[in-house]
Symmetry: C2
Subunit: 330 residues, 2 copies
Amino acid sequence: MNKTDARSTENNTFWKGYPEIESGLDSVSRRMHEIVNSGNFPLAEAVEKLINANGKMLRPAFMLLSGRFGRQPKDLSDLAAALELLHVATLIHDDIIDEAGTRRGVPTIHSVHGVKGAVLAGDWLFSRSFRLASSSSSPANARLLAALVGALCSEEIHQDLDRYRWPRSERNYLRKISGKTAALFALSLRAGAVETKAAPRHVMALTRIGWATGMAFQIIDDVLDFESTEGVLGKPVAADMRDGLCTLPLIIALKKVPEKIEAYLGNEKLCNDGIEKVLAAVNSCGALKEARACAGIYTARAMQELGHLPKGKAKEELHDIIKQLLSRHN
Amino acid sequence: MNKTDARSTENNTFWKGYPEIESGLDSVSRRMHEIVNSGNFPLAEAVEKLINANGKMLRPAFMLLSGRFGRQPKDLSDLAAALELLHVATLIHDDIIDEAGTRRGVPTIHSVHGVKGAVLAGDWLFSRSFRLASSSSSPANARLLAALVGALCSEEIHQDLDRYRWPRSERNYLRKISGKTAALFALSLRAGAVETKAAPRHVMALTRIGWATGMAFQIIDDVLDFESTEGVLGKPVAADMRDGLCTLPLIIALKKVPEKIEAYLGNEKLCNDGIEKVLAAVNSCGALKEARACAGIYTARAMQELGHLPKGKAKEELHDIIKQLLSRHN
């Protein structure tokens, strides 16, 4: 089994039943591998491993899907590969920052090749991604891609400055995830439509669907962080809270039962006892249910916007995927 | 005195006598400051400080100069600012890698805001730079810019893998500096000419001038690293050698007087006694003179290519600047 196959097989679970997306993602994977292996980059093999271990390829899948709403079909493999390479580059740099030892079961580049290797591997991937975007897309989309990276970095630093500043407000939290996950999902669903010259109202609807889906997706992710166990997500329960980050469930719980939580939240890492107490409080006060309800509002918004898209197989598939994505429980 | 003035004043020393370049660089500085201060980036102030402390702005100056050979004059401030921001981004990441405490007298972002801040500040500048390049230049130049970053990262990693591998060959050394300094100088002199639609033969000549100038410039830099004292360059004598890097003077000396050097070069940092012994050997065997002669070959090549440019003030200024740059002794 070659490397590309390894990746596609892993993706099969999620994309089973969507043969068009599946074969599209195979092309994207192939392009990613070609690009990483071109140009004699010394750490290509390490980057390959990370790409192979990478997940569902949601962002490129959304881009390919949105390209099916256009009036001038176009091969979007290159732009989708650029988007995913950008994502991988940010993962590599995130792992330096979080001092993570593994990512999806694979040792991080940072842990094997040191900070130096990881900084440069990320930079190199950025450059490959931008180069690919500026060859394969309209200047407008290349700009969008670049702007997005800037916004993500800015958000990351804001988040870091906010670390251990409990409690955060719900509004701040929503602004943060709007600039991160939601912006990226919106771009993914927008770019394919723009490239294939979809009608402006469809471009608009797809952008909004992407944004609302991203909001819901991130909230659910943050709920799962509290619900899940180490085995499932590959990281400890409440990893965000352990890192001093205040996500929606904790923000809600802090409003409902402050007396059970506040004493444990200080300016540094929580003790194990504190984590257990806070976890119990978040679980018992109904905060997780409320957070899921908040995600539900964004899901409903996405579904409503779907109504503005033209009927057809692409719309049906987009509907099903969003539904599947936003009802996940692990 | 505002920040922009602080920067321009510092540049005055080198660009005195070139009012057109000077006023062009003022516009570039202004654009850089506008960009860094737009978008509410949390570490904007730290990046500002680095920009203010930054040097001659050689690369943007070259780009502006080459724009004067075109047939369709164009404001190149944005593209030149993109190029310089890219340069600043690589400096920020370099400082993480080298664990540098200061750069040109200013504390590095890494030392003040930690690895996290520096990784993200560099990424953010990359994105700003690419965004600016994709708005202000032809897609071809945006691609060139992106490709260049990739090449630089690749070279950096190769260099790191070669650390403490003495002796290196002259050919390897030349290939390395060709992919770094020379490629960047070539791009700077090429991009302005391409944007302003210079005649293809002039674009070609400018690219070659940039490349040869970059080669000579880097070799002289590496010679000065051995000749200079800590006060002048703001770093210790033979800083490269201390870091396990083998530059031209050392490569030449290793061929001429291996018996005086080899014993001191191991797999790790040289001891102080070793450094002094190797320095003495490099100085006394004539390696520095030979290295300067090698730079002279590239300088001559640059001067020869200058002959292919059309007569005029731009050509005269380019000639004078290259001469001034390649005859520097500190």
